[in-house]
């Protein structure tokens, strides 16, 4: 019977150097990896935190500027509150908060406002990080047209009268004050008559220094230059600044060549029908260098870059301002006032004999202060003066 060998080696008895070496190597490797991980991890975290903070600051700055510029170009006033802005070219978002620090004036008077705009980045749906604040000033001009009308016809250019059936009455027809002279003209405006027969000024009546006037005495040939007369009647504003108060929906074209077709922010406006819509108390028509035919309306009608003609039985209640010529024929009636600037271009006096007011047929121009006031009030209610913004200033960085 075999004797068991108590000392026979087993697998556990097979000692070698491999295991200790491997363990040692493992320990060293672990140390190295840990070191590298700690180093690179802390470095990475520090770098990421710094990059986040820097990005947050610049996001806030660009978000604030984007908001202000967008509002300024759209000529919109700021509103109190907060909104979200996406940083251009990225998907990062910034919360822009507006606070009104100072407000002076109320429509239709000019309005001045000082705003504090604060911007802060949005990270993981939470407003956090570095914020910036800056001040912006906004100005909204008055929506009042502010005309200073002192006659039934304000004449920047010349006046040609053909025929006798031309009634111009500066006496107020609505009972609020006596009124003015029939015509007020620049010192170098020429009033001429054509044709034969009768006194063509017989139907001119007005008021001067409380006394009724008739005939040529009803024409006030002022000592004003055309520029001075225009400044006076437009209340020291330019025609362009008045037109800027009118919303785009009240602007029209007369021909295909039109400043209101020139693209953003002006829409491709349709052609003017010749009559102001019943809902419109303001209309601006770009004459495209031609003559706009008007068949009726009420309120304030402005013809820029062209002349105007009223013919047939046209009835207009209010004020017509024309940059170029007037041509009145047939039996039109204007109750309110006519203003002929006889100008070509913005605020530029053109001593052009073509800028005449040629009148033929039976025409009535009756000064009416009530109609003038109503037209100017309607203008104020429908005007939308653009808001202008200053550049940002008073920047400060906030650390939350």
């Amino acid at each position: 019977m075999p004797v068991l060998d108590r000392w026979a080696p087993t697998a556990l008895d097979r000692r070698g150097i491999a295991l200790p070496v491997a363990l040692l190597a493992l320990v060293a490797l672990t140390l190295m990896v840990t070191t590298v991980m700690l180093t690179s991890g802390s470095q990475g975290a520090a770098a990421t935190a710094h990059a986040d903070a820097t990005q947050s600051l610049y996001d806030a700055e660009s978000g604030l500027q984007s908001y202000v510029i967008a509002q300024a170009t759209q000529q919109n006033a700021f509103t109190v509150g907060a909104s979200t802005v996406t940083v251009t070219g990225t998907t990062r978002q910034v919360q822009v908060t507006r606070a009104l620090l100072f407000s002076q004036g109320a429509a239709p008077a000019p309005i001045f406002r000082t705003w504090a705009v604060t911007a802060e980045g949005i990270r993981r749906d939470t407003v956090s990080g570095r914020a910036v604040t800056a001040l912006v000033r906004q100005y909204t001009p008055s929506s009042n047209i502010g005309l200073n009308i002192q006659s039934a016809i304000t004449l920047g250019g010349d006046l040609d009268v053909n025929g006798n059936a031309f009634t111009v009455n500066g006496q107020n027809s609505c009972g609020q004050g006596a009124g003015y002279q029939a015509v007020q003209s620049a010192y170098n405006s020429n009033v001429t008559t054509n044709g034969s027969g009768g006194n063509k000024f017989n139907n001119f009546t007005g008021v001067s220094n409380g006394q009724n006037t008739t005939g040529k005495a009803a024409i006030d040939s002022t000592g004003l230059t055309r520029t001075q007369l225009v400044n006076q009647v437009l209340g020291n504003k330019t025609l362009a600044s008045i037109i800027a108060l009118v919303p785009i929906s009240k602007k029209w074209c007369w021909t295909g060549t039109c400043q209101f077709r020139s693209g953003s922010p002006l829409a491709n406006r349709p052609l003017f029908s010749g009559t102001m819509a019943i809902t419109d108390s303001i209309a601006v028509v770009d004459g495209g260098g031609g003559t706009v035919s008007v068949s009726g309306g009420s309120g304030v009608l402005i013809i820029t870059n062209g002349g105007v003609s009223l013919g047939g039985n046209a009835v207009f209640n209010g004020v017509i301002i024309v940059e170029g010529n007037f041509s009145l024929a047939g039996t039109p009636t204007v109750t309110g006032a006519l203003i002929s600037l006889a100008m070509t271009g913005q605020n530029e006096i053109n001593v052009d004999t073509q800028d005449n007011s040629g009148i033929a047929g039976h025409v009535t121009v009756q000064y009416d202060q009530c109609k003038v006031s109503a037209a100017m009030n309607a203008f104020a209610s429908q005007a939308q003066p653009p808001t202008t913004s200053s550049t940002t200033f008073a920047w400060a960085e906030l650390v939350r």
Binding site: A28, A116, Q138
Partner: protein
């Protein structure tokens, strides 16, 4: 009877021989030495990198604070501009005057800001007002150190809904009204922009044998001596902080530094700052150095408040 004996072991199952042990020890020694070298070089690398990070962090921290302050600097707010020193009026809050003030009292509305920004704790606090009624601002009084500037000595919360601020029409979350007391205040009318500031000084100085970049935390009661605190460091030498000054839109470099020349200070448009920092510790007797620089456009140097869009010449 068994053929094996308890005292006999086959050769293959015997213990290590001396030679085996020695060979193993030699191999282990070689491996250990190699590993030690690797660990040691790793350790040296880590130490070196740590020092470099230390120096980098120093430079980064210094530049972060400095450039942030410069970006916010008030128009006409640089008081002293040297090669290695800079004093400027740093905004604590921008607001709008409520009006009705005097040379010793002013009430203003402020946008939502940290409340500590409105605490005029020291005589380093002052205020300026844009007293211009037109588009070209006129910030007064100049925040130069001395008797001419508008010192703020105390502040108290005011009622936004009561006079004189109630007529401001102010609206918005977090708006605050404060009444300031002090001296040399310009008479501000309602709507004029007010800046409450703290005078800040940057310079370098030596302490415990090392150079440090310092920033002030306030002034003493005389209003002329700054209380300086280390901001970053150590830096290798006195010239390790360098400011370079540029004027106008064309950024014309001013050499030498403007110092206290008011005409040049008023036209400063940008400031470049260069910082060299060193690690706080050493490895094998050597320090690490890091150089960093940044140029800052003084964006609050607003030449005009004219409206940028809309009707030409419209007042703002």
């Amino acid at each position: 009877m068994s053929s094996s004996s308890p005292s006999f072991r086959p050769r293959g199952r015997a213990g290590f021989t001396l030679i085996e042990l020695m060979v193993a020890l030699v191999i282990m020694g070689l491996l250990t030495t190699a590993l030690w070298q690797i660990v040691r070089s790793q350790s040296a690398f880590v130490a070196s990198e740590t020092q470099r990070e230390d120096a980098q962090d120093n430079a980064r921290a210094a530049l972060d604070v400095l450039t942030g302050d410069l970006r916010a600097a008030l128009p006409r707010g640089v008081v002293r501009a040297g090669d290695a020193e800079l004093e400027l009026a740093l905004p604590k809050a921008w607001g709008v005057a409520c009006g009705g003030g005097s040379a010793t009292q002013l009430t203003a509305v402020f946008p939502p800001l940290p409340t500590d920004a409105l605490a005029p704790a020291t005589t380093a606090s002052g205020l300026v007002v844009n007293t211009s009624a037109g588009n070209v601002p006129d910030w007064t009084p100049r925040p130069a150190v001395g008797g001419g500037r508008g010192f703020v000595t105390a502040s108290a919360a005011a009622n936004l809904a009561a006079a004189p601020c109630s007529a401001m029409g102010a609206q918005g979350a977090g708006l605050l009204a404060y009444q300031f007391t002090g001296t040399n205040f310009p008479v501000a009318t309602a709507g004029q922009v007010v800046m409450l500031y703290q005078l800040v000084r940057y310079d370098v100085a030596q302490s415990e044998g090392k150079w440090w970049l310092r920033r002030s935390t306030g002034m003493d009661n005389t209003g002329t001596t700054f209380t300086m605190t280390p901001l970053a460091g150590p830096i290798p030498a006195q010239d390790s902080l360098r400011f370079t000054y540029y004027t106008g839109a064309a950024a014309v470099q001013q050499n030498p530094a403007p110092g206290t020349d008011v005409a040049i200070l008023d036209s400063l448009s940008r400031i470049k700052v260069k910082v060299v920092t060193q690690s706080s510790g050493q490895y094998q007797g050597r320090s690490n150095y890091e150089r960093d620089s940044s140029a800052v456009l003084l964006r609050n140097r607003t030449g005009s408040l004219q409206c940028s869009v809309g009707v030409a010449g419209a007042p703002c």
